[in-house]
């Protein structure tokens, strides 16, 4: 996609094709010879894993759409028919439902990886921002998909999320009505959500293309966060990273299969096996686990508009990270202070998720969880808007290695020196 091409068409047909549609050249340069830092670790295999997740979701989703009926009177039964009557319907649905959780698990690891190694910093700002866009599209797709079985959680989740728009002054209620196609969530809502749920994954696939394109211009970041300086610092993508990605993909698939075959309802909510009832709200409304931290923020604030703004702002904040981080060093390996704040941020995120899963007035060890959520939300915002800019200025980073090759192979490989490798 960038840089000089090393493709050399061998046969007459390849030369003919290369002059007309150089697709083999594109594949050769991006997936075969692409120079990749030689020190990528396990956390860099999640890009490939995520592509796999998207593929699985589209494949199983297309199959499910062949048997699903998007009608408020029939949807719930059609899902039960998929589970009981359709050949391997149970497998398709459990792969699709657990696949969504696996997709988010992988994307969160991928994002925290980017945060830790400073992958959002110049010249990779756009890769990060496109990634945030993909994350937003994923949340929208997952939300639409969760409504489709038309269970109690589907219905009330849809009600709560669409009602977020009513917090907007003046036009909020008109927007909600426009989204519903009625005066509350109903048949019209279900139909359009199905349409959008089918559309968005293909848009995600397109944006993923942009994500990878933007990645292939500067090339991968790496755990050291230093630039590639010589061909010695890299290895060709194939076979080195195709094999590494494949190995960790297999481990990931084992985890995935573990849930599908042994705990298919682990991430599910039993209330969703009850058909939607517009007159009865379940006692505890809980979103899917991957939205819990944002839900905890929303609930921790006793004002509707501010609560919605805080929740939305938590995601919008991610877009600005490339400019909020003032450090000249990318990787937290060489940032002793930032490293600690990073791990505290991870703890705060998990804590928010925990609070979001508990009932609104719950307390642990005598501490009301709403206050835990408030403090964790405060830290979430402070991490990006205060800690990132300030720590970048006051911190003294550790000494960076001279090159990737020197760090990996020892000094003897890069330059003659008697010192042992770190």
């Amino acid at each position: 996609m960038s840089g000089p091409s090393t493709y050399n068409p061998k046969s007459g047909f390849e030369r003919w094709l290369d002059a007309r549609l150089p697709l083999p050249r594109l594949m050769h340069d991006t997936m075969q010879t692409f120079p990749t830092p030689r020190n990528l670790n396990i956390w860099y295999t999640f890009g490939g894993i995520l592509t796999f997740c998207l593929g699985i979701q589209i494949l199983t989703g297309v199959v499910l759409a062949m048997h699903y009926v998007a009608n408020a009177g029939l949807a719930f039964d059609s899902v039960e028919s998929i589970m009981r009557d359709v050949n391997y319907g149970w497998l398709m649905r459990y792969m699709h439902a657990n696949g969504a959780s696996m997709f988010f698990l992988a994307v969160y690891i991928h994002m925290f990886r980017g945060l830790y190694y400073g992958s959002y910093k110049a010249p990779r700002e756009l890769i990060w921002i496109i990634g945030v866009l993909i994350y937003l599209l994923m949340m929208a797709t997952a939300f639409f998909g969760y409504v489709l079985p038309w269970g109690q959680m589907s219905f009330w989740g849809a009600t709560v999320i669409t009602n977020l728009f009513t917090a907007i002054p003046v036009v909020g209620h008109s927007i909600a009505t426009w989204l519903w196609g009625d005066f509350s969530v109903g048949d019209a809502t279900l139909n359009r959500f199905f349409s959008l749920h089918y559309l968005l994954p293909f848009i995600i696939a397109g944006v993923v293309g942009l994500h990878i394109w933007a990645l292939h211009v500067p090339g991968n970041n790496n755990p050291l966060g230093i630039d590639v300086k010589s061909p010695q610092d890299t290895v060709p993508f194939h076979p080195y990273y195709t094999v590494k990605d494949a190995f960790y993909l297999v481990l990931f698939i084992i985890l995935f299969a573990g849930f599908v075959f042994y705990a298919p309802n682990f991430f599910g909510n039993p209330d969703n096996y009850q058909q939607a009832n517009p007159l009865v709200t379940p006692p505890d409304i809980v979103p899917e686990w991957y939205l819990l931290p944002f839900y905890a923020m929303l609930r921790s604030i006793p004002n509707k508009l501010i609560g919605v703004l805080v929740m939305g702002g938590a995601i919008v904040t991610l877009v600005f990270i490339p400019w909020l981080d003032t450090s000249r060093v990318r990787s937290c390996r060489f940032r002793p202070l930032m490293k600690q704040f990073f791990w505290a941020f991870l703890v705060a995120s998990v804590l928010l998720g925990y609070c979001g899963a508990q009932s609104v007035d719950a307390a642990r060890f005598g501490i009301p969880l709403v206050w835990v959520a408030r403090l964790a939300s405060l830290y979430y915002y402070a991490f990006f808007w205060l800690i990132m800019p300030i720590v970048g200025l006051i911190e003294t980073p550790k000494k960076l290695p001279a090159s990737i090759a020197q760090s990996v192979l020892g000094d003897s490989a890069a330059a003659p020196s008697p010192l042992p490798a770190e």
């Binding site: 009330w156 009600t159 709560v160 669409t162 009602n163 977020l164 009513t166 009505t177 426009w178 989204l179 519903w180 196609g181 009625d182 005066f183 509350s184 109903g186 019209a188 359009r192 517009p278 007159l279 009865v280 709200t281 006692p283 505890d284 409304i285 929303l298 609930r299 604030i301 006793p302 004002n303 509707k304 508009l305 609560g307 009932s359 609104v360 007035d361």
Partner: protein
């Protein structure tokens, strides 16, 4: 035709701008049907009124009906509940407006303006926070501290006149348009 040479713009410039402008208006006009098709259909708009028979409802009891796809609370209040609602100072409420579609928008949230007949409190059972259905509070099974309703989704509490007292909901529960046809029949909508 002689071409103009001044800086004021040629006939061709004018045609460019004019056709561009017409095109932009045309695109905007063509987009509108694609946006408006998502609004409620005429069938949804035509959802009529509901008539409710009140004879079976006992004092202290709430019955939930379905009205325009949403829950409708009809609560026959006990004298104690009415007295509790009347005792509240309106100026101390988070939302001092009546939110009663039978009254002007500026009506105050006094108990009399929330329930025309004090015994009968008729409300749209949709929490004004994010749309959940609040759970009714009874002396046997209290929900929240104010004797009215508690919304379990995000903890909003309403009093015995359906007024927001605590929690994230910004407004009192909505009082829909209704009219008593007789002592035991009410038409809502």
């Amino acid at each position: 035709m002689a071409a103009t040479t001044s800086d004021a713009g040629t006939r061709r410039d004018f045609l460019y701008v004019a056709s561009g402008a017409v095109g932009a208006v045309g695109v905007a006009a063509a987009a509108w049907p694609f946006i408006d098709q998502m609004n409620p259909t005429t069938a949804a708009l035509a959802m009529g009124t509901t008539e409710i028979d009140l004879t079976a409802i006992q004092p202290g009891q709430q019955i939930v009906f379905k009205f325009r796809g949403q829950p409708l609370f009809v609560r026959r209040r006990t004298p104690a509940e009415i007295a509790a609602a009347k005792a509240v100072d309106v100026s101390s409420l988070p939302d001092p407006l009546a939110r009663n579609l039978n009254l002007p928008d500026s009506a105050q949230a006094t108990d009399a303006d929330r329930a025309t007949k004090p015994e009968w409190l008729i409300l749209v059972g949709v929490c004004t926070h994010l749309g959940c259905t609040p759970t009714v509070s009874t002396p046997q099974m209290p929900e929240g501290d104010y004797g009215g309703w508690l919304c379990h989704c995000h903890g909003s509490q309403y009093d015995t006149a359906g007024r927001i007292r605590k929690g994230p909901a910004p407004q009192n529960l909505l009082v829909p348009q209704y009219a008593f046809l007789s002592d035991t029949r009410v038409k809502v909508g």
